[in-house]
Amino acid sequence: MQWLDGLIQGILLGGLYAQYALGMALMFGVMRLVNITHGDLVILLALIGISLASTFSMGPWSVLVVLVVLGAVIGVILQRLILNRVVGADPLPSLIATFGLSIALQNAMLQIWSADTRSLEGGAIVHASFQLGPLFVGVLPVIVLLTATVLTGGLDVVLRSTRFGRALRAASADVEAAALTGVNPKTVYTGATAIAVAILGFAAVFQSLRSTVAPADGAFQLIYAFEAVIIGGMGSIWGAFLGAMALGISQSIGFRIDPGFGILAGHLVFLAILALRPQGLLGKG
């Protein structure tokens, strides 16, 4: 029974990880770059949300709206000021630039919010649960999973059937050819980063409702997002979702084997996938 519980909890945890992973899959697919500040932005948005909630006594859902909009704005600024200057075939400049920014962000957050762990007050919904057969399932984790599913489906539809989505896919296939057909790469890139960071707004709210955040936590979010993307298969939105589930389940089962083994189990599954199926679960080839 505890294994079934582990499986269910793992899928629910995967819902949160999927929200980290979607933006990374999108940005890598379009620009072939990894934004090292990915996890730090989750923490930054979460800490801003917590401060907003306590200063203006806002509820979690109004905080969510603010953070998603703020995330999109941060995404545009990040792309315009930094990423547009470093995007290219050489991975080094973008890695180093965002790496430096990540150190700066982490320490700036440490200055402003101190090293304390904080969380967002969500009221009754945080502790509500319902019975599913012999198991108890939290309402909030189910909401997180549903949100992740809707976000993944929505992003998939946007990529498949909108004008912007076609431009994104064209730019990710061959940016120069796309530019020839009238796609402006800079606009596409800015849109992708804005969407990616806006999704992190959701992740920030749910992360700080479900557990706690502290300025140094960003590295873990970055690694989980990365592992989910690789497990699922690079360049696939539903792959990132599936990878997040696999990661959540591995960690959750691992924790039930031994509390010190949870995170490690996730990493080991990632390494096993890399060894046995490097193209990822949904990857082609």
Partner: protein
Amino acid sequence: MTQAFAASSDETMQQPTVRVVRQTRSSLIAFAVSIALLVAVASMPLWASQGLIRDVVELCCYVTVAQMWNLLAGYGGLVSVGQQAFVGVAAYAMFVMAQLWGLNPFLAVPLSVIVPAVVAAITYGLLHRLDGPYFAIGTWVVAEVLRLATSVFGYVNAGAGMSLRVMSSYSPMERAVGISLLSALMLLVAVGGSYLLLRSRYGLALVAIRDNPVAAASQGVNVGLLKFLIWVAAAVGTGLAGAIYFMAQLRITPPAAYSPTWANVSIFIVMVGGLGSLEGVLIGALVYFVADRWFAQYGATYLVVLGLLTLVMALFARGGLWGLIQKVTNASWFPTRRILLEDKP
């Protein structure tokens, strides 16, 4: 530089003989200075205080770790943010050999680099499947796995860490002599070894890979093998620095051994000093060392500045300080280029 230009022209037309010049006047001076510095480091117990020895050993470790990162990123095209993996495993291997197996600790330091070499060889098999930026984060995952695994590994006292108590059987003088000689040896291997490597035909091949791997392969360079070898070599150098650093510390815990600070520092040193040059690493290490002594008291603010400086360098001055210096004066300390000179009879 050379007397070839000064030679007077002759009226007899001949096939010009071409000479390859590798050394310049600045490089000969730098060579002499380097030898003097190496001797100074090796002889520290004769003239330096305990505190100074500790500082210099730390600086030598930074130079080495940064130089290894420079070899990877500046020449091998492999960007790693997980070099702390090799620092940690080598340091732990040294502690196990010296403290648990009773080996002479000064012998355990060079022996301990076998472990990072093996870890590097195994992980490369997995990591080389990852593309560009994903390779970098993959290295970070490896470091995290090793940190977490060490934290639950009872044989090395798990999360509580170990102390190098066997060092108490040596007098402070003996310890100072041992660690100074090891540091000098490490510098010789890391900087001198890199220099020799880059001057050799493998150095040419590495530069070719960095500039264009496909073109390099078409010229007969075995890109995959060379990348693998440079990855393992960098792990060995990084591990050596880790073993020496933690021998000086006398104590090790998983968070300290596998601290991401090692990656942060090497990236800062190389990016500020100058990617893809030996001189840049030395300049960057000195800048970092001085900044750390003067500004570390400002804590987080200092690190914000460090991070932003790395960002600015990546955006606007990819060649770092050495690149800026090179624009003013072209006096290379460790020239790896070949200069063709025409001998006029």
